[in-house]
């Protein structure tokens, strides 16, 4: 007989069970102070285990982080709100286009828009994001034009990647968006390398690494945290904890550890945990973390606490593994609704303007979508020339690829 027994983490609720978020502790807004920029890992415990929140239940900014942020210009907040609504319009149109067979695949970011949106607005030209597939909002917030963005999703002749990549695996160097790879975690350590190059070349720029909660289990999460700790480059290590990795509950990636932010402390990387659906909290902490990195105080990790409201991808049906109404019950609410409430509270927005903005943006996206679809879709393919297969494998085409291209008939 043995007393040894395995545990297998389970989500609090499965389909047809009542939603249960009693395990989620939501502290009041405004409780945590703003640490000094040179915050040491051993002093980061309260930030890594707590939850930085700025907006209270009525949308009013409160506490030291609200003070640190100052009153953000209403125009900036309206821009943020419009970017998030634009992302929702893109998600809606493109999810639809996938259902119509016009594109092979799509991934929405519903509920997570505030994180990339507010973060991107704190970056400077020349800083580089190393995104996952669920940070398209970084492109929207960087004012990346819709034509190449949708062109990539349709793999048509507007696709800057000439049809080589699966939809949503964007690459936009000039907009600070590193080439997305299908292999999870790999970009996390590459971001640290990029940041080391920033420091070695003294260009004053920083790198931002992005990873989901599930992929923190990958080897390269460890590789990145350790490398960042050893060499202290200017990198912000973002962890987007949306509670789900496809069908796998976040507890399977986390084990018995407390928070993902706390995990960084073990590497000697200071970390903060933040309400990812609070646009003002994301803005404030992003500003702090980016300034810390740029001023040479080393890496910092941020766990953005949020919820994946939509399906994992167009190939996924979440009703098979979680309650249907879980997203509506998420204790941190919806990032768009919360920023909207704040702006209305400030007298800078209204229900009418919100409805109108949503309709305008949907119209704008629909218009661009039509133009882009005229350049080809999956049902009416007009891809780049098949010779694009052979270009760019190497800087110069070697003889064996030239022969294979000729064999293909070109």
């Amino acid at each position: 007989m043995s007393d040894a027994k395995l545990t297998f983490p389970h989500p609090p609720a499965r389909p047809n069970q009542p939603v249960d978020f009693s395990n989620i502790v939501v502290p009041k807004a405004g409780l945590l102070p703003v640490p000094p920029l040179d915050l040491a890992p051993q002093d980061a415990q309260p930030f890594a285990r707590g939850l930085i929140r700025v907006m209270d239940d009525t949308g009013t900014p409160v506490g030291p982080w609200a003070e640190y942020l100052g009153e953000m210009p209403a125009d900036d907040l309206r821009k943020g709100l419009r970017d998030m609504l634009k992302m929702r319009a893109i998600d809606r149109r493109m999810q639809n286009a996938q259902r119509q067979g016009k594109t092979s695949f799509y991934m929405q970011s519903t509920g997570e828009e505030a994180i990339g949106c507010a973060f991107q607005r704190q970056l400077q030209q020349g800083d580089m994001n190393f995104p996952t597939y669920r940070q398209q909002i970084l492109l929207v917030a960087a004012d990346y034009p819709l034509e190449p963005m949708l062109g990539q999703l349709y793999s048509n002749d507007l696709d800057p990647l000439e049809g080589r990549q699966l939809p949503i695996m964007h690459s936009a160097r000039d907009y600070g968006y590193f080439s997305v790879s299908g292999n999870l975690g790999t970009q996390y350590v590459q971001a640290v390398g990029w940041a080391m190059a920033c420091a070695l070349r003294g260009d004053g720029k920083i790198a931002a690494a992005w990873i989901g909660d599930g992929a923190t289990a990958s080897n390269d999460f460890h590789s990145a945290m350790l490398s960042a700790s050893v060499y202290q480059p200017p990198v912000v290590l973002n962890i987007v904890n949306n509670q789900w990795a496809i069908s796998t509950y976040t507890g399977v990636a986390a084990g018995k550890s407390e928070t993902y932010a706390a995990r960084a402390l073990g590497y000697g990387v200071p970390a903060l945990r933040v309400d990812g659906n609070d646009f003002l909290a994301v803005s404030a902490v992003s500003r702090w973390a980016i300034e810390r990195a740029r001023k040479g105080f080393g890496p910092v990790a941020i766990e953005w606490f949020t919820y994946r409201a939509a399906a994992h991808s167009s190939s996924d049906d979440p009703s098979a593994y979680r309650p249907k109404d879980e997203a509506q019950a998420w204790p941190l609410g919806d990032p768009v609704d919360r920023l909207k409430a704040h702006l209305i509270d400030r007298g800078e927005w209204s229900e009418e303007r919100h409805v109108q903005a949503g309709a305008e943006l949907l119209d704008e996206v629909t218009q661009v979508q039509k133009q882009v679809e005229a350049h080809g879709t999956l049902v009416n393919p007009q891809p780049a020339s098949p010779t694009a297969i052979f270009n760019g494998v190497y800087a110069d085409m070697p003889e064996h690829l030239r022969r294979q291209r000729q064999e293909m008939g070109y």
Partner: protein, 337 residues
């Protein structure tokens, strides 16, 4: 001209590039202060500083992943994996990231990076200090794969690899770091100072990637080899008394097919040698290419002498390593047909 071992030649190549290009950076396990477990980077940190030559944690995926980030930024990292046998944790970064970055980003991001790694057996290295994993890289589109066999080539090829705009896997046969090895483990070891290829210019020069070298001209048979097996081939040819042409491939990917084809069309016979295991090894690719390009010139079936399809053993080292006698037997067999 100076006299250099392969170790010194590799070190000289990194010294030249560290000196003439501020973007070049060298790192890996024990590479910095200590100068590498094989001394390939000795003195470089003292000369160029810790920001150019430094030690890393024992994490191959991090070594290559960091290098990819730096290379994408515009630097030219030349990193070391302590033994090729330990490259597997970095295989994801090398094959899915470095090799594909230019293609998948349509040239927005590139990866001018070199991954150096000591390879090959013949040193009683056992299972994890003897492997020859070249076929795991030649199968990956977007990589270049290089393996020198002389100090002169080692330096010129490494400089060319560092200057190359694409990721290069640079395999260094550690059995011939200090001198050529002719397959006779009981015999007296020969230092590079007694070999003409130990003459190495101290300054910058390159040996272009993608070009094979004919080590011995011959009329009767073509031997395709690389790394340590070039010398085993030389000794076997002497013993067999066959007028064989020995081609040292030097770069496996992209392959110098023109040189190979010209030779086999002349000789009509071909034997492929490598230390790596046989099944799906690089020899299979060589045989397929030669068969397709030279079919009507062939006068005998193509043969290969390779390591056995078993993990590299310790005690049975010389029953595993492709010996001169095995090569002699293969040459004789091909000449009979």
């Amino acid at each position: 001209m100076a006299r250099m071992t392969m170790i010194e030649a590799l070190r000289s190549a990194m010294d030249v590039k560290l000196s003439d290009d501020p973007g070049v950076i060298v790192f890996g396990e024990d590479v910095g202060y200590f100068g590498g477990v094989f001394r390939c980077t000795a003195g470089l940190q003292a000369k160029y500083g810790e920001e150019r030559v430094f030690d890393t944690p024992i994490n191959e995926s991090a070594i290559v992943g960091l290098a990819i980030g730096m290379a994408a930024h515009g630097m030219r990292p030349c990193v070391e994996i302590q033994f090729a046998d330990y490259v597997y944790p970095a295989y994801d970064q090398i094959t899915q990231e470095a090799a594909r970055l230019r293609h998948r980003s349509n040239q927005q991001f590139t990866c001018p990076m070199v991954v150096r790694m000591p390879t090959g057996g013949g040193i009683f290295g056992g299972q994890t200090h003897s492997q020859s994993p070249e076929a795991l890289f030649t199968h990956v589109a977007g990589l270049k794969v290089v393996i020198p066999s002389t100090p002169y080539d080692a330096k010129g090829l490494l400089i060319a690899a560092i200057e190359d705009p694409d990721p290069v896997i640079f395999l260094e046969p550690k059995r011939i770091y200090n001198g050529p090895f002719y397959g006779d483990h009981a015999g007296k070891s020969v230092p590079w100072s007694a070999h003409p290829a130990g003459e190495v210019p101290e300054d910058h020069y390159i040996v272009p990637l993608g070009r094979a070298a004919i080590r011995r001209e011959g009329a009767d048979l073509t031997i395709l080899a690389y790394g340590t097996m070039v010398y085993v081939a030389e000794r076997a040819v002497e013993q067999a008394g066959i007028d064989a042409e020995i081609i040292d491939l030097r770069t496996l990917l992209p392959l110098d097919l023109a040189t190979i084809v010209a030779s086999v069309e002349k000789t009509g016979r071909c034997v492929v040698l490598h230390e790596a295991t046989r099944t799906s090894g690089f020899g299979a690719e060589l045989i397929a290419e030669v068969q397709q390009a030279c079919f009507w010139h062939l006068r005998a079936p193509l043969l290969r002498v390779t390591g056995w399809d078993a993990p590299y053993p310790h005690a049975q080292e010389w029953d595993y390593f492709p010996s001169v006698s095995r090569v002699v037997a293969a040459l004789a067999k091909v000449m009979e047909d």
